[in-house]
């Protein structure tokens, strides 16, 4: 009897299991004749869309004279503060209090004195730099402080050198946004060949750092016999300061960077351009170019041969490295995680920036703005981890110097992709002569690293270091490229870079290339499956109980 019942039971359960197998609902399912309808997600996420240009300081755009310093026009959306420029040219000791108050610079940030060679410009320069953390953690809650967005919604932890500042580090009392002086990249520093330059690192940060003057003519020791090469074993610890001394004999585009735990500190952003300008009479150079980009007060030598000058600082960020300073507050934990737990040899680059920003923010202050028949000087520095292959659309430009050394005329190559290894600098002459070689004519010509990762922000394109070489006739009155309104609606949105929005989810093709919807659940199937599964479990439990009782008897 028992046997017969068992066989029957096994038979019933197998039949039920087979049915269950065939009606099992899945999380994914093949579509039938009709695929799911397109979903329009844009209406739900419009909250993330920003104004392409906030147009905060239209008065900063025109050419102007401040403290006797000529400041060239900067038509871009987010021009450099002309008072920063005037103060960077004259020194904090030579401008009026009213001008200084228009900047965030400390009164001892930049002192310029003593015309040693009697040629009309100061030759003893004292520069003070601090180390600032952007997008850092706070023990007071789940927020970041001194924020600096590199792209919509993207706030990687960064370290930068900043000219010594004063007052509030935040933009205003109601925000956690860093003031405009505190930003990536570390400022471009310009000095004149032969100047006696004293660079003081005042380490305001909680980890040790140095300044290594990469490629800049400097003695190995200071006059006092102290470290002058910024090496690891002479780290400047928190709260301490150290002064590096140089009198560079050779002019050119060089670098400065931290040489403590170099791989990580370099990747965190402690690196910048250091440009030694040719010695010329009455040559007041713009010591700081905050945020790199257009130089609004070029040196005498540059003005002789060029109509404009731009500093292009290419930088990349590994999001896992950048996160370390956001996940802990204790400097010991940060030091351990960064120096020992994190492994640079197993790392990736996720964010690619030009002058501290990724596309589309590069459109606000990272564009090259030109007219026809200009000769523009570009100082391009690769401060990324990987090599770049910089491509200019619609133009072929000419290499004039490599690593701060002028190329002889015969070696001045004209090309449209510039390969630049990490830490290398390439000076380029960009001609906007519409001759079918140097330029194909006016337009909004993109320029970007042609290594495929470089045009993405954590894999999302268009992003990364994409920027535009814009001819003025193609810019609106706020300095934004015309004819890009649809693109702006799409990319000036943190949802786009959070990968929540379909790439082609708008316009005529939205129904065809928007997000595919989900398949509606088949409730009949789910209920049948549930009932069958329940029946199987019930039968099993029942038979176990019966079996036990039989055994007891």
């Amino acid at each position: 009897m028992i046997h017969r019942h068992s066989i029957l039971l096994i038979f019933i359960i197998s039949v039920l299991a087979t049915i269950a197998f065939f009606v099992a609902p899945g999380l994914q399912q093949k579509a039938g004749i009709a695929a799911p309808a397109t979903v329009y997600n844009r209406s739900e996420v419009t909250s993330g869309i920003e104004k392409p240009c906030s147009n905060e300081h239209p008065d900063w755009r025109p050419a102007q004279v401040i403290e006797g310093v000529t400041v060239d026009a900067a038509p871009s959306c987010d021009p450099d503060n002309p008072y920063d420029i005037a103060t960077s040219v004259k020194g904090t000791n030579n401008v009026s209090m009213a001008t200084l108050m228009q900047t965030n610079l400390a009164q001892d940030a930049l002192t310029m004195t003593d015309d040693l060679d009697h040629d009309g410009d100061p030759d003893v320069i004292h520069i003070k730099l601090e180390v600032v953390e952007l997008n850092g953690a706070s023990p007071d809650g789940e927020f970041l402080i001194n924020t600096f967005d590199i792209a919509p919604g993207i706030q990687p932890g960064l370290w930068v050198y900043a000219p010594k500042s004063r007052g509030m580090a935040l933009k205003n009392f109601n925000s956690v946004v860093a003031n405009p002086l505190l930003r990536a990249p570390s400022p471009v520093i310009r000095v004149e060949q032969g100047d006696k330059v004293y660079i003081t690192l005042e380490n305001t940060h909680y980890l040790p750092h140095t300044i290594h003057l990469h490629g800049v003519d400097h003695p190995w020791l200071t006059a006092k016999g102290e470290d002058n090469d910024g090496m690891e074993e002479h780290a400047v610890f928190p709260g301490k300061s150290h002064t590096y001394e140089i009198q560079p004999r050779h002019a050119g585009t060089m670098l400065y960077h931290c040489h403590v735990q170099t791989a990580q500190h370099f990747m965190m952003g402690l690196s910048g351009l250091f440009i030694v300008e040719e010695n010329q009479p009455d040559n007041w150079v713009q010591t700081f170019n905050i945020g790199a980009g257009q130089v609004r007060h070029p040196s005498v030598a540059v003005k002789k041969s060029y109509s404009q000058e731009y500093d292009l600082h290419y930088q990349s960020v590994d999001k896992n490295l950048a996160q370390i300073i956001q996940n802990a507050n204790d400097p010991r934990l940060i030091a351990q995680q960064m120096a020992r737990d994190y492994n640079m040899t197993e790392s990736f680059e996720n964010y690619f920036m030009l002058n501290g920003r990724s596309f589309p923010y590069t459109l606000r202050d990272g564009m090259i703005i030109a007219e026809e028949n200009e000769n523009i000087k570009l100082h391009i520095a690769n401060l990324q981890r990987s090599s770049i292959a910089l491509h200019l659309h619609g133009h072929k430009a000419t290499v004039t110097a490599l690593d701060g050394v002028d190329q002889p005329a015969g070696l001045q190559v004209t090309r449209d992709v510039f390969d630049i290894a990490p830490a290398q600098r390439t000076d380029v002459l960009l001609q906007t002569k519409n001759n079918g070689l140097n330029s194909y004519g006016p337009g909004l010509w993109m320029f970007h690293d042609h290594v495929p990762t470089g045009t993405t922000t954590d894999g999302m394109e268009p992003g990364g270091n994409i920027a535009i070489l814009a001819y003025k006739s193609y810019l609106d009155e706020q300095g934004m490229p015309k004819m890009h309104d649809e693109l702006f609606d799409q990319v000036f949105s943190k949802d786009y870079y959070a990968k929540k929005v379909a790439v082609w989810g708008f316009g005529d093709f939205a129904p065809l290339l928007g997000d595919a919807g989900l398949i509606a659940p088949n409730y009949l199937q789910i209920i049948i499956f549930g009932l069958v599964a329940g029946l199987i479990i019930g039968l099993l439990v029942f038979s176990v109980l019966v079996y036990k009782r039989k055994q007891q008897q």
Binding site: Q102, P139, G141, E142, E202, T204, N329
Partner: protein, 231 residues
């Protein structure tokens, strides 16, 4: 902020000598004083209740007593009476910039509710302010990026204050605390296992002696009942 600063500097430029007495700002190559106030009484005060002289030192070495911090003031709390005048001597022991900002003050005396001392390097500054009468805790901090976050945070309590601010070294816990590994050794594991065994033993003890435990309970209940009924 910018407009305010220009306004303040206008004050400073026009009347440098009296700027400190009338609020506003004083600035030189060593540092700055903003919104000092040594004689304007807050509206809710009829007179200065007490004169408090305090010296506040700022520097990396003051963080040594707080594991996990890098910068700190030498003290983390000051208690004053309502309407007290505080004369601060601010000393910077480091070779870098430090600030002493006090927030939440009445805006009609201290623009943006802030009193602000800043030293660009080693040195000292003196300035006074008069506190209102309200029972309140005021934030004192250095706003150089990551200085407050890494320990340079303190509080002034007027009339005992209205509680502690978070993450003040040695006084209050952070809102977002760091996570550290526990020092888990063989002994710790042994203690855990032993506790598990004892826990099991307790259960067995209870089961084996169930009857006698029941008796004990009943006796106790009976006693309680007797007591209650006797009342």
């Amino acid at each position: 902020m910018k407009v305010l600063l220009i306004g303040l500097i206008m004050l400073g430029v026009i009347e440098p000598a009296s700027a400190m007495n009338h609020g506003g700002m004083l600035m030189d190559e060593k540092g700055m004083i903003m919104n000092a106030n040594s004689d304007n009484l807050p509206r809710d005060c009829t007179k200065i209740s007490e004169n408090v002289d305090i010296t506040i030192r700022a520097g990396q070495k003051h963080a040594l007593k707080f594991p996990g911090k890098m910068f700190a003031f030498d003290q983390q709390q000051w208690d004053v009476k309502p309407c007290a005048k505080i004369n601060i001597t601010f000393i910077n022991d480091d070779q870098i910039r430090h600030q002493l900002m006090i927030h939440g003050l009445p805006g009609y005396l201290y623009p943006e509710g802030m009193f602000h001392l800043e030293l660009y390097g080693e040195g000292q500054l003196q300035a006074s302010l008069i506190m209102p009468s309200q029972k309140k805790t005021y934030l004192v901090h250095c706003e150089v990026p990551q200085h407050m976050e890494k320990g340079m945070k303190a509080q002034i309590k007027v009339d005992g204050g209205d509680g502690d601010l978070p993450s003040i070294p040695g006084i209050s816990a952070p809102v977002k605390a760091d996570i550290y590994p526990v020092d888990w050794s063989q002994l710790t594991t042994a203690v855990l296992l032993l506790s598990v065994l004892v826990g099991c033993a307790v259960l067995f003890f209870v089961i084996i002696n169930a009857r006698s435990i029941k008796d004990i309970f009943q006796k106790m209940l009976a006693k309680l009942n007797i007591k209650q009924s006797s009342k």
